[in-house]
């Protein structure tokens, strides 16, 4: 009886070891959280200092720095007229999980974006602002 009991407990220990060996890689699979940004965030207070009808291109550049993109309107008489300055700063937040045979990946990219339109004299006409980079979310893909 004692021998049978020893055999059973030995088999139980063997099974436990095997289960741990098999399940550990599943439980300890890699999880990744990452955040990437291109450039610094747009400062909302600086954007508020841009005044339509008053501010100039130079003042806009002094407040927000050089634009990420310049929109030309290609007017026939002034093809290099700079119609708008665009500032866009993306932020991406990524969640990933790697198990042995199953992995998930989710990324969410949102932008801080400011578009400043100028009139023919180089004075600010309109300003469009959306500061949403911080709204990028971590999450699972389902």
């Amino acid at each position: 009886m004692s021998t049978r009991h020893d055999t059973a407990s030995h088999a139980g220990a063997w099974i436990r070891s095997l289960l741990i060996t098999v399940l550990a890689p599943l439980a300890l699979g890699g999880c990744v959280l990452s955040q990437t940004s291109a450039g610094s965030s747009v400062d909302g207070e600086r954007v508020e200092k841009i005044l339509p009808g008053t501010s100039t291109r130079a003042q806009v550049a002094a407040l927000l720095g050089p634009p990420d993109e310049i929109i030309h309107s290609n007017l026939e008489h002034d093809p290099l007229f700079e119609r708008a300055y665009v500032y866009h700063r993306p932020r991406t937040r990524t969640t990933a999980m790697f198990l042995v045979i199953f992995s998930t990946h989710r990324s969410d990219t949102k932008y801080d974006r400011v578009t400043v339109f100028f009139d023919q004299a180089g004075i600010v006409e309109h300003v469009g602002v959306r500061l949403a980079a911080d709204d990028a979310e971590y999450g699972m893909p389902w």
């Binding site: 059973a8 989710r106 949102k110």
Partner: protein, 207 residues
């Protein structure tokens, strides 16, 4: 005690099955992917833009700064986009032999070239398929083993769904008045399950 003894073989079988699954399923992977780019476009903001009345100022107030600006000879076009992508990838790592008919023959010939007589006797030729099959089987086991997955050959079933919400506002060239507007909604997202079913259906339809 009797019940425990009876249950033990089942537990052992389960453990062995699980071990075998992890060992050999390493060759296949299943991946869920979701990528979102941009801020969702609100329908209310689009409705607030009135053709013939609103100007650029109102458009910017309702929809924010555009993702794209274009000019034609007479128009200023503001575009807004929001993209969503979901995907399911089911990948099988397979040895080259399964993807490239004839590759395994070359591999076998390379493996056995030192044993092949210059003039192959008929008896050897009649048995070479046994060697080929054995090598193929062994190669498949190696390629699916977590110890060695040297094969880069993949068979992948992809389910991809890329959708854009897109709004286009057309103004006169000075941005004073909206001439036209259009909203192209991407529709509702597919669930992962729907995408997976669609992928399988597409695979079936292609046959």
């Amino acid at each position: 005690m009797v019940r425990a003894a009876a249950a033990q073989p089942r537990v052992r079988a389960l453990a062995c099955g699980l071990a075998a699954a992890v060992l050999f399923a390493n060759g296949c992977t299943y991946q869920l992917v979701r990528i979102e780019v941009g801020t969702p476009i609100e329908r209310a903001g689009y409705e607030a833009v009135i053709v013939g009345e609103s100007g650029r100022k109102e458009v910017l107030a309702a929809l924010g700064p555009p993702d794209g600006i274009r000019y034609t000879a007479e128009e200023e076009i503001l575009e807004y986009r929001s993209a969503r992508h979901i995907g399911t990838d089911l990948s099988f790592v397979l040895p080259a032999a399964m993807l490239q008919p004839g590759a395994w023959v070359a591999a076998i010939q390379g493996l056995f070239q030192y044993f092949l007589p210059l003039h192959e006797p008929e008896e050897f030729v009649s048995r070479v398929w046994v060697l080929s099959f054995a090598s193929f089987f062994f190669g498949q086991l190696v390629s699916l083993s977590p110890v060695e997955t040297g094969s880069d050959d993949l068979l992948v079933l992809l389910g991809r769904d890329l959708r854009f919400d897109r709004v286009r506002i057309i103004l006169d060239r000075d941005g004073k008045t909206v001439r036209a507007k259009a909203f192209e909604p991407a529709g509702g997202d597919l669930s992962i399950g729907e995408l997976w079913n669609r992928t399988l259906l597409q695979e079936g339809a292609a046959e």
